[in-house]
Amino acid sequence: MSQETPVAGGDRKGNAVLLRKGSAHKMALKEKIVQIYEAFFQGEDMSAGNANFWDELFLLKVNTLYIETECDKLTGDGLVQVKDNFNMMFERCVEVIKQDNSVRTVNAVHTLCALVRGIYRKSLKDNAFDAINLLIGFDNAESVFQSLVESFNRILSGDFPVALKQLLLKFMLVLVSVTENISQNTLLEYVLINSVYESLIAVLGSPVLRQALGVDAILLLTLLVQYRKHESANPYIVKLSILDDELALTGYAQVVSIALSDFNSDYKARGTEPQSGWFSTLANMVGNMFVGEEKEMAAVKANDSVLLALYEAIHLNRNFITALTHAHTPSIATTPPSSPATDIPPTGDSSGHSLDVQTSPEPDHLPTNLLVTFLEYTSIVIQDTKDETRYNNARLCLIIMTCIAEDQYANSMMHDINMNFRVPLHRLPMRHRKVKFEASPPSRPLACAVLDLMVEFIMSHLMKTMPVELYTRCLGICHRILCYQKKCRVRLQYPWKSLWTALINLLKFILSHENHLLKKSNVFHMCSKIVNIFNLFITYGDTFLPNPNSYDELYYEIIRMHQVFDNVYSM
């Protein structure tokens, strides 16, 4: 996704130009490694005559920027000339990673990053040559990659420092994201043959690794899933869709949940900035004009990869729905693994149970689940859909919601009266209403929150540039939830009137802007969807309405607004 990885960014300091003291010429000092690189880019074989050359080279600190800029400088012919050197370097790097010397491994990974980035950046500019051949060479690309992926798996699942694992993950991300269109990244063919899936899942399953590496792991997995997903049987898609390791799934959900809730709390923190006096308010307003939007944008953007990961998991894996509604607390109090039975304290521990009280939960940390976090996130994202990125974000959110609303298990969880959650939904301030963000919304089944969210969306996007597609999805979600309630005879205690009002308003709006909207999209489809929902209420109200009065109310609303329906009929 993003080309800027910390690996490359972190080494910029190393490039600081050193000056010889008292030197009049101001000639820059050259690092030893840079000298080697120079020779390297001249096409010389540096290892000749020096048996320890490679061992020593990888003990030196890598200057990634130099490699990348040198690559840029090379012409097409020049690149081909140093091809052998590239290949040798790549091969050596992979070999070094195989050995267990962390310093060399780190340097080798950095070198690899630089090489890959440098060459691919070049190849993006003029597609005259093949990057793989330049980097590794066609002949041994397969074996080199096999060994690379093997070391990757070994390090990721073995007992190695977390930083090293993280570095390798970052390198894989670099590898995966070198091209603009992931499907054009032919390097990935090798990653498909030699799967990294198992070690990624192991990372997600381990509660310790998940904290440090979780985001990178799901990002990598999501990217790999994207590779030619419409064309071929991507093994990652298949494997992800049959994943049934509950721990890994829960880990996956937790990583996504943490990322989304970080966004939510960021948003909340911005919303509740201390405002003292009119001046600061004014300053804030002015400030927000320029900065606020951008900041929010950045926040949204930072999360869309996680959102995509969530979508892939929900869409592909049916078991993930379980993890989605799995309640988890932000601070799960885990008892430390106790050593084998022989270590159980034999001393007179009279109570017998050392109930760990030290892990006292904070009362304000309500147990939540991914769905709650996601709903809150959605309520923020759908507030504004003018920008294309945000529009896509909102669209993805609604698609995910559709997937959830389609799933029977998710529905049964959302309608379970024993499972009540407080879902904080954010609403945009509008001309006719003040911003009201309920700090502690009522504790209700999740389906209520979903319906609230849909009503809110319907009511807040009645504008000229109406996002018809989003509306269609929104109506689809409502329809699905109602269908579930009808089937399972769930009587949700929900103020249905708000939904009816919203739908009627939507109809009214479509009617009044018929001519304008008709040019752009198929409003008839949307109207029929709305009418369908009303039909569901009218014909099957007895199966899911909470009481007879609400049925009366339904008729009252329809008759009161009969004009609207008459007009739709004559549309």
Binding site: S157, A202, K229, H230, S232, A233, L243, D244, E246, L247, H315, L316, T322, A327, I332, T334, T335, P337, S338, S339, A341, I344, P346, D349, S350, S351, G352, H353, L355, D356, V357, S360, P361, P363, P367, T402, D407, Q408, Y409, S412, N420, S443, E469, T472, R473, C483, K487, C488, H525, N532, L536, I538, T539, Y540, D542, L545, N547, P548, Y551, Y555
Partner: protein
Amino acid sequence: MAKNFKSEGDLVTKQPNSCLSKSVGIFSLSTGNMGKGRREEGSDLNGAYKGEEGHDGEGLVKLRASTLKTGSRVSFADCDNDGNMIKTCSELDLNIDPMFAHSALGRSLSYSAIERTDRQLEDPEVIFNRNMVFSHFHKSYDTYSLGSLDSRLSTSPIQEEVFESHEHRSNGPSEHDIDTCENPDDLDLSHDVNDTVDDNTVDCASQNSGHLKSRPPLSNGKSKHRPSSGKQTSWLLRLFESKMFDMSIAISYLFNSKEPGVQTYLANKMFSFMDSDVDFYLPQLLNMYIHMHDVAEAVHPYLVHRCRSSVEFSVKCVWLLSAFSASVLKPTWRTSQGLKLRNLILNEELSHSHKHQHQLQKHHPSVATAPGLVEPSCETTQSLGTMPQSLGTTLSPSSKKTHIRSRSDATGVFVKAISSQSNLTHHNYSCGDLASGRAFDSGCLCHKSTEAMKNDLTGKLVPCQCGSPRLSPQIEFVKAMMSIGSRLAQLPTKELRGSRLMAELAMLNLNLPARVWLPTVQFDHHVVRIPHTQSVVLNSKEKAPYLIYVEVLQCDNTLTSQVPNKILENTLRYTRSEEDLVTYYHHGNTSPRDFSVYGNLNDYDDADCWSQEDDDIIQIQMPTLRYKSSDQISIESSTSGDSKDPVYIAAGDIRRRLSENMSAPKGKFERDPEDPSAAAMKEPWEEKVRRIREASPYGHLPNWKLMSVIVKCGDDLRQELMVYQVLKQLQMFWNAEHVPLWIRPYNIVVTSNNSGMIEPVLNAVSLHQIKKHSKLTLLQYFEHEFGPQNSEEFLTAQKNFVQSCAGYCLVCYLMQVKDRHNGNILLDSEGHIIHIDFGFILSTSPGKNLGFENSAFKLTHEFAEVMGGEGSDMFEYFKILILQGLVASRKHMDKIIPLVEIMQTGSQLQCFSKGVSTIRALKDRFHLNLTEEQLQLLVDNLVESSLNSLTTKLYDGFQYFTNGIL
């Protein structure tokens, strides 16, 4: 009867103090073979005795071999000096082949109690010379014998206290003055025996005397051969060998007898009782173990043996030991044995694998050659393991190596990856770490081997052989539940607690299924899932007890059966997403275009969302809800969309159906966020089981069962446990006497001195909840639930109410159960009343013993109203029932009192705050001295005063104002 015996002279004599040095009386018995169902053809020769023959004086060596097959029969054989069998008798026709007896020795575990005679030390050699091997010579203690500890107990204060209590026990003036008696023990014994015989044998007195005369030759011979000095013992022995001797007598004699011989005999006798019989008295047994050193010494082998053979028993012991020794503040030499035993068990020193080394040493070839022999050989090792002193020494040097080899053998077996779950970290030991997903996994791989799977399919037992910790999964499981409780208690509101509980249980769920079980359940099973959304936090201010439902799969043996595989929650659409994909994946690469998990992204029409297939699956999932097939959404939305054939629906119809649906009588309370347990408890159990079964991924399995348990943390359940035992006994006696009193003892598991589990009473809600949610009086509620007063349902419910009320009134009176507010009284769906919460019994009552409730039991006018009012037939029946119950209980008082009395030993429990007088008062409440007419008057008085008691009303009022309990 007793007099009769005494006059015969030769039966009852006092045993002088010196009997230990001279004597004789030899009782030996074997535990027989612990395995169930294994036929053993010979007898086990398990004890030997050599001594002077009292009457004949011919210096016969008596060798008495006895065999007990799972504790059912005893046979005897006498041997002469050369060890030849001279007489073989058995109650059942058992032919003892002397040769076989010799050869069979190695095969059984046996304990013998040999009184310490002068000659005894020589015995081993003598016996060895005869090439006979005996399992145990001196004492049957195991490696961890307590024998090294002093037995100075006779001077201990506890002992004196016990004497004191005995003094009080003897009703009326005792002829024997303890101070002047040389041997209080003996006096006590004889006295007790008289008492016991008096009480117990009234019914079968004639039978008994007939029995005496027509004794089988063996018994006759026995008593004849008994030396004069051991007559006391023989008298006792006859009781001990009589038919009516059961665990309750054994336990009271263990408690009362100060004689090591008797104690050892009783301890050995326990081997012959059914395990379940002994288990009932386990709290008493362990309390004695903790507080009475001599008893500890005697019963230690038994406990060790049981711990070896049963993990479940070990776990129970650990919990009870830690609970009852909690009050021992500073463990001294006298009181530390309880903790020692607990640590012994916890450290797995009594595990199978310790024995297993022997098995492997000796029987490995046979295992390898003939798999069918696995079982017998396993049992053989039990016997080998328990006699390390005799045989173990020869085996021990190389045993360590074998043990390790066996382990590597086991782990080396190919472990089949059951699913695609990551087994990468499988070998890490993560017991207790809930986040690991294997918190309750001992790391044992024995059951994962292909061989084990085959054995499991063919019905063979798969014992664990890898030496992984046996107890820790279960202990961790319970610990996890308790720590949830303690965390919940810190949360302020019920809502927070509720959602927190669900989150925590979901976490716990990740680690299931596992080889863990619910201790409150009687059958063998594995816990597979906790439907966390069904759990509720119960009403309590400071503590947070909670009720959970637990899905279990019944199995043959918790420890050897395969643990079921994990099935994920979301089983819907399994067929579509998973299986298809696997086949696609394997054959898939041929035509990449065919396979795409993704639909066409540009198409945002929902037409394909609800395919027919989905509907089918939903229909399968919800078979109980009746739909017409035309109800399916796809059809419905199309009909409403293009109205080719319009269906007219009358709005009135729909509204009518809706209101009918609303007004339909519901057997439920509405959900109340302040009292979530009310709705959960009110829902009929069968309905709940059906509902959960439908939602459960394991629900389709035939051995699926739903259990429920209340987890209490921060509450001492030891009193509850005692009351449970008393109630169980009372229920048994009433049944035996055909008194139709009804009580519902609910199982209690004490896991420490401040935590435990309770088996919930199903289909029952508290009177408080009834009043709060229905806003009716009790009688109105009965009418509402069961119909009009003259209907059959009502009358049945009324009868149930009266019988249960009588039962509990009696219980409340006898045990002085206090704190009887309506929150502690349940009413079940059949009209039975059930009292719960026995936190205040005997000498303790709420409010610092001020005596708020001074009535005998809680009987309000409301109760009387349900019975039909004072003076009605049912009310009279109620009083008769109490009387009958009291008479029946009085008959068996001596089996109830020890239960309580033993628990009083060394106890810090509130209910014994008044010390010995507590027991005396309890005894007094049985009114042994009253005639039946007097009893009737008493009952009438009790009922009258309770009904009109001011304090009952006051207490209810007090509870209403302070705790809002109606």
